[in-house]
């Protein structure tokens, strides 16, 4: 039997018996759609998931600092070091900061706090947002404005309320305008701190304001270990790494990875279950087809079909089924991919979709052959007379 005849006959059979095959095709199509979506969107979702989880634990943020209290020669991050760190693979963004002690007198009451001098990227890197008002941006940093952002706890302690946006706060005898209250998941240290533009702090705070701490956000949690290991080498190649400390929330990272592993496993489990169900469905449908088409098999053998012709026909029908399901699944997967892309606001590379498509087709072939083989073999081995006389 020629290949084009085989395909033509098989497609015709599948189309004519479409009602019988519909459930199986839909099951496999959903599996394929899920598979393509996972393959294409997993990195994007993971990236998004990373950001969401960072709100809880900040596990992709690496804190790097020089412990100048233990060093005779104070160190700070040089421009070329920052450039090299920015170019490091797996680094999404970084923020430079410095810490000084600060104090204020408000209605005769003295409050001591930590004044953090930060650049405009700090909020994004640490996933902070404004609970009230706004966080200062590039404009205020560039113009060295006297603005500040207060930790929520400190605002309550100093002013007795958090409704302080626009009010003045004296810090080390200089007046600053409160632009906002820090929101996001903050520890008690952050909640009791004042945040100033780095440039303003360097101009106005007493003594040297050394940019001796750095926050790096990695692209995904898989990049954290690799980036953390590379940081000392990169810094060492541009400046002295004396008293350099690299801090990673290893415990948090482990837990987040575990959580993600479970979620990913569940997704793959669901997809595998769909594929298995699809496979069992094909098996069942083909077995039923072999039984209900026993006379047809006998007739075809009487017309001169060889065992291999019957085997090829039933196998090719199983492949057509899984192929059709894959095509449908690919379409559904594309739609799901587009919808998820819009929802999470990013688009995966097109070649990932094609990779998913190729893998899905490979699965379809394996599924079609695997599930269709036994029924096809059974059909091909039937004896003509018993098949023709089958009731």
């Amino acid at each position: 039997m020629r290949l084009n005849d085989l395909l033509c006959v098989s497609v015709r059979q599948v189309v004519r018996h479409r009602r019988r095959y519909l459930g199986v095709v839909l099951a496999i199509a959903l599996g394929v759609a899920g598979f393509i979506t996972v393959v294409t969107m997993s990195r994007e979702v993971k990236k998004n998931f990373n950001e969401d989880l960072d709100l809880i634990g900040g596990v992709t943020v690496i804190r790097v600092y020089f412990d100048n209290t233990r060093s005779y020669r104070p160190q700070w991050f040089r421009d070329q070091t920052l450039e090299a760190l920015t170019d490091l693979e797996g680094v999404k963004e970084l923020s430079l900061a410095a810490v000084k002690g600060g104090q204020t007198n408000y209605h005769g009451e003295r409050h001591i706090f930590m004044a953090m001098a930060v650049d405009e990227a700090f909020w994004q890197v640490r996933s902070f947002w404004a609970q009230r008002g706004r966080l200062f941006g590039p404009g205020e940093v560039f113009e060295r404005q006297r603005v500040c952002v207060l930790g929520a706890e400190l605002a309550r302690k100093v002013f007795g309320t958090q409704d302080v946006v626009g009010r003045s706060l004296e810090i080390n005898q200089e007046q600053y305008r409160v632009s906002g209250i820090l929101g996001g998941v903050t520890d008690s240290g952050m909640a009791n701190s004042v945040f100033l533009p780095l440039t303003t702090a360097q101009d106005r705070l007493p003594g040297q304001v050394l940019t001796d701490r750095l926050y790096l956000r990695c692209l995904t949690w898989d990049d954290v270990a690799q980036v953390a290991a590379a940081i000392p080498k990169v810094i060492g190649s541009h400046q002295s790494p004396e008293e350099l400390h690299v801090e990673v929330s290893w415990e948090g990272l482990k837990r987040v990875k575990q959580l993600a592993w479970w979620i990913e496993s569940l997704i793959y489990l669901a997809i595998s279950a769909t594929f298995i169900l699809g496979g069992v469905g094909i098996w069942n449908v083909m077995m039923a087809a072999v039984t209900s088409r026993t006379r047809e098999i006998g007739l075809k053998k009487a017309m001169g079909a060889e065992d291999k012709d019957i085997l090829a026909q039933f196998l090719s029908e199983a492949l057509c089924l899984s192929g059709a399901a894959t095509l449908l699944g690919a379409g559904l997967g594309r739609i799901m991919m587009e919808i998820m892309g819009i929802m999470i606001g990013s688009r995966p590379p097109e070649n990932l979709f094609f990779l998913g498509l190729v893998l899905a087709f490979v699965f379809a072939v394996v599924l079609g052959v695997g599930a269709g083989l036994y029924p096809s073999l059974r059909a091909s081995r039937m004896e003509v007379v018993s098949a023709i006389r089958y009731e």
């Binding site: 039997m1 020629r2 015709r12 004519r16 007739l299 053998k301 012709d309 004896e383 023709i388």
Partner: protein
């Protein structure tokens, strides 16, 4: 018992069956369906096999189509011992040398008349472009050219039988084995089928073996054999 049915002496027989026996074990004992059948069918002959129900007519026809194997005996077609063929050889034999019309006039369901006739040609490896003409010609011979693209499910019993005959003819086989080919046909269409069988064998290369209950049809055949209790005899 040894019964020999031939129309003439000589070795030019297309079908030569010798001492053919078929026995079944039905659980309570052996059933002898065919006993020492000897049959020679020559090119150009239409041989009718008559007999009561259960006499073994269909079994004989199935053995001639090598759908069944005899318990004993030999069967040569065109000088070739076809009982020694392996499964591939048997398929090749059915494809090229035999056309079979079943008693139940089985057609492929959910297929058109064209598709029913196309399958033998597909298995024979005929080029796709050559098939329509061959199918049309076969259908014309049974007066069904106008039904070529009808679904087989929509045909009447008589039409189905004629399509089954056309399907047996479409590969232009050496031997046509027909099990009650006119059983469901009216007189005129039965006559048409027989006339066509006559035309086919006229070339002197083809033979037809017909199982029938119809004495009128048997009367128009070259020879009539009777099968009773597994024993074949010429009338």
């Amino acid at each position: 018992m040894n019964n020999l049915v031939t129309s003439a002496e000589g070795n030019g027989a297309l079908i030569r069956v010798t001492n053919l026996c078929k026995t079944y074990d039905n659980g309570s004992g052996l059933v002898h369906v065919l006993r020492n059948i000897n049959l020679k069918v020559y090119p150009g002959e239409i041989v009718a096999v008559m007999g009561p129900s259960g006499s073994g007519k269909s079994t004989l026809l199935f053995i001639l189509g090598i759908f069944l194997h005899p318990t004993r005996g030999s069967y040569f077609l065109g000088g070739e011992n076809v009982l020694t063929l392996d499964r591939t050889g048997q398929a090749e034999f059915r494809r090229r040398r035999v056309g079979f019309v079943f008693q139940t006039c089985d057609l492929l369901e959910n297929s058109t008349v064209y598709e029913n006739l196309e399958f033998p040609l597909i298995y024979a490896g005929m080029d796709r472009k050559e098939r329509p003409a061959r199918i049309a010609a076969a259908l014309e011979k049974v007066d069904l050219g106008h039904r070529m693209h009808y679904s087989s499910n929509r045909l009447s019993g008589g039409e189905r039988q004629r399509v089954a005959v056309a399907r047996a003819l479409v590969n232009q086989p050496q031997v046509i084995l027909a099990d009650e080919p006119t059983g469901q046909l009216d007189r005129s269409h039965g006559h048409l089928i027989l006339t066509h069988f006559g035309e086919i064998v006229r070339d002197g290369k083809t033979s037809v073996v017909v199982v029938t209950h119809d004495p009128e049809m048997a009367a128009r055949c070259t020879r009539v054999c009777s099968l009773q209790d597994g024993i074949l005899s010429e009338q």
